[in-house]
């Protein structure tokens, strides 16, 4: 009796799983496939595979808008932000993990609190500061905000990782006359590369996708990022379905490809965070 019920339950769960899998792929595939169809085909053959895979919508997108510039801006913001997050949070994590000083524990929790504080709610203050610093409508403002947002997760992951490095390694370097900063970049940095990679990978996605801060801080067209461009073009070409799906695909493909290549490291990094947190 129990067995039959279990069997039924398991097949029911199996069906849920299949429906779920379909629901993941269908919208994404629909987006990618429609972006490859001509405008007439979207209506004559809305749900099938495209007759010919053509990139006309993408070519048109690049012709009618500054898309390549937006794309370049997003890459500049992401790369610079991640680079700075790695340097700044590894320096802080090293000191917090390896040295005892007044306020050490407090400092750790001070940074970790940022994991749960919604930075969005400080946007008015950020906007005012950026105006004072003459960084309003400047791409640097996005980098600064991203770094502030990235530090908590960076410190959280890296401090833990550095704590696990045996002190003997540093001590033998000290005996050889190594200064403390030198220990950091000669011994610690090479050892924490996997953790640095995890921090970089996990930060890339929210930074690439951020729409809120560009919306508030950026005005000039030549420094807009991909999410801003997505909203702009969606508003302008709402009825040109082929073009709109190309816009959405262009915004999504970088993260999809990035994730598919690095998903193992990605999941490992996030899982470790979840179990500890």
């Amino acid at each position: 009796m129990i067995k039959i019920k279990d069997g039924l339950l398991k097949s029911l769960l199996g069906i849920i799983l299949i429906i779920y899998a379909v629901s993941i792929f269908l919208p994404i595939l629909l987006m990618l496939l429609t972006s490859l169809k001509g405008n007439r085909e979207i209506f004559t053959n809305p749900y099938g595979l495209p007759h010919i895979f053509n990139l006309d919508n993408y070519i048109k997108l690049i012709k009618i808008s500054n898309y390549l510039v937006y794309f370049k801006n997003s890459i500049i913001v992401a790369v610079t932000s991640i680079f700075l997050i790695l340097i700044i949070s590894s320096l802080a994590s090293f000191v917090i993990a390896k040295y005892r000083f007044m306020g050490n524990r407090f400092l750790y929790f001070y940074f970790i609190a940022g994991l749960i504080i919604p930075i969005k709610l400080g946007t008015i203050g950020i906007l005012k500061t950026m105006i004072t610093l003459h960084l309003f409508d400047n791409i640097a403002s996005l980098v600064i905000v991203n770094v502030a947002m990235g530090i908590p997760f960076g410190v959280f992951v890296l401090t833990d990782f550095i704590r696990m490095i045996p002190e003997e390694l540093s001590n033998s370097a000290r005996i050889d006359g190594c200064s403390e900063p030198k220990i950091f970049y000669k011994i610690i940095v090479p050892l924490i590369r996997p953790a640095l990679a995890a921090v970089a990978i996990i930060n890339f996605i929210p930074i690439w996708n951020d729409f809120w801060f560009p919306l508030v801080l950026i005005r000039s067209d030549n420094i807009k990022t991909v999410p801003l461009a997505t909203a702009l073009l969606y508003g302008q070409y709402e009825t040109n379905f082929g073009l709109i799906f190309a816009v959405l695909s262009m915004a999504s493909l970088p993260v999809i490809i990035f994730y598919l290549i690095l998903s193992r490291q990605f999941i490992k990094g996030l899982t470790a965070g979840a179990l500890k947190g």
Binding site: A92, I116, L121
Partner: protein, 308 residues
């Protein structure tokens, strides 16, 4: 070892900390307090200069249209949060139980389930608006095929259905997060315990109830608090699917969109000036803080005292 280095001047400690402390403090911590101070001032432009005490808050809670918009968004945000929490926790848990079992493709399935979470909320919102679009809409077509044409309606145009649709889209997108966290929790359960239960003849339901559920309870807390903080500041989905006005007739207006409109939009588009915007941000911050403290108190006290 630490002791013997105490005597040296450790100039590098403040140096190494300087960048992290100053950027984090200046651009994450101070701005929030800045908003709190600003919420006591009124006036136009970027820096309202006229001190009004609790004037902005009184306006927000008692005067038309401020109180209507505020309590409207408050109610919507709570409904939205409850719907997302329910879907993401229940379905996420069920799917996690499935994918934590070893079957052909279970590893790949885990990875795939996180894919939507990596996309931007904005793009997902636009995508689902198009799918629900009455002219082109794929969704209506599906309903037709499975014989439910009577259900076809402008889902995003009706106040009653618009908010649940937004909640479903957000749950769809972030389901991967719940699945990932719950699977991690289930994987961490000692496999000998599960084996023993099986030998004792425990069925799947008993296994879930007596072994899996109790051991992942803290993860339910983490997933819920992440949803809570995310939903109480959610903006992108409203912007993409029902504009920053929370159409139709403010039925999808959430705290995130209310804050954006009041603080950063022009007067004609629902702007209330920086002082009022700051008051809205402060109230949201207080609500989120109370929620987080409550979570820390309920779910984390044990954990913290253990790790001390």
């Amino acid at each position: 070892m630490v002791k013997s280095y105490k005597k040296k001047i450790r100039y590098f400690i403040p140096l190494f900390l300087a960048a992290a402390i100053s950027i984090y403090t200046a651009f994450l911590v101070v701005p929030i307090f800045n908003s709190m101070i600003l919420s006591f001032y009124s006036g136009s432009g970027m820096t309202p200069s006229e001190f009004t005490g609790f004037g902005n808050y009184i306006k927000l809670f008692t005067q038309f249209p401020f109180k209507d918009r505020f309590f409207g968004a408050f109610g919507n945000t709570i409904k939205f949060f409850l719907m997302v929490t329910l879907v993401q926790n229940v379905l996420g848990f069920v799917i996690a139980i499935m994918v934590s079992r070893k079957f052909a493709g279970s590893k790949i399935f885990r990875r795939i389930s996180f894919l939507p979470t990596t996309l931007s909320v904005l793009a997902v919102g636009f995508l689902f608006s198009l799918i629900l679009n009455p002219i082109w809409g794929f969704f209506d077509k599906i309903l037709e095929v499975i014989g439910l044409e009577f259900l076809i309606k402008p889902w995003l145009g009706i106040p009653l259905t618009a908010l649940p649709i937004l909640a479903i889209v957000v749950s769809w997108q972030f389901m991967g997060e719940s699945v990932l966290f719950y699977t991690a929790g289930i994987d961490a359960i000692d496999s000998e315990v599960l084996e023993a239960a099986k030998i004792d003849g425990a069925g799947l339901l008993a296994e879930v109830r007596y072994i899996i559920f109790p051991s992942i309870r803290p993860i339910i807390g983490i997933v819920t608090i992440l949803i809570f903080v995310g939903d109480f500041t959610q903006f992108d989905i409203v912007y993409a699917m029902s504009t920053s006005m929370g159409n139709p007739s403010y039925s999808t207006d959430l705290f995130g969109s209310l804050f954006y409109r009041t603080a950063f939009s022009s007067l004609e588009r629902g702007g209330w000036g920086m002082g009022m915007g700051a008051a809205v941000a402060t109230i949201i911050f207080l609500i989120v803080s109370v929620g987080v403290l409550f979570w820390l108190f309920v779910f984390r006290m044990k954990g913290v005292s253990q790790s001390e």
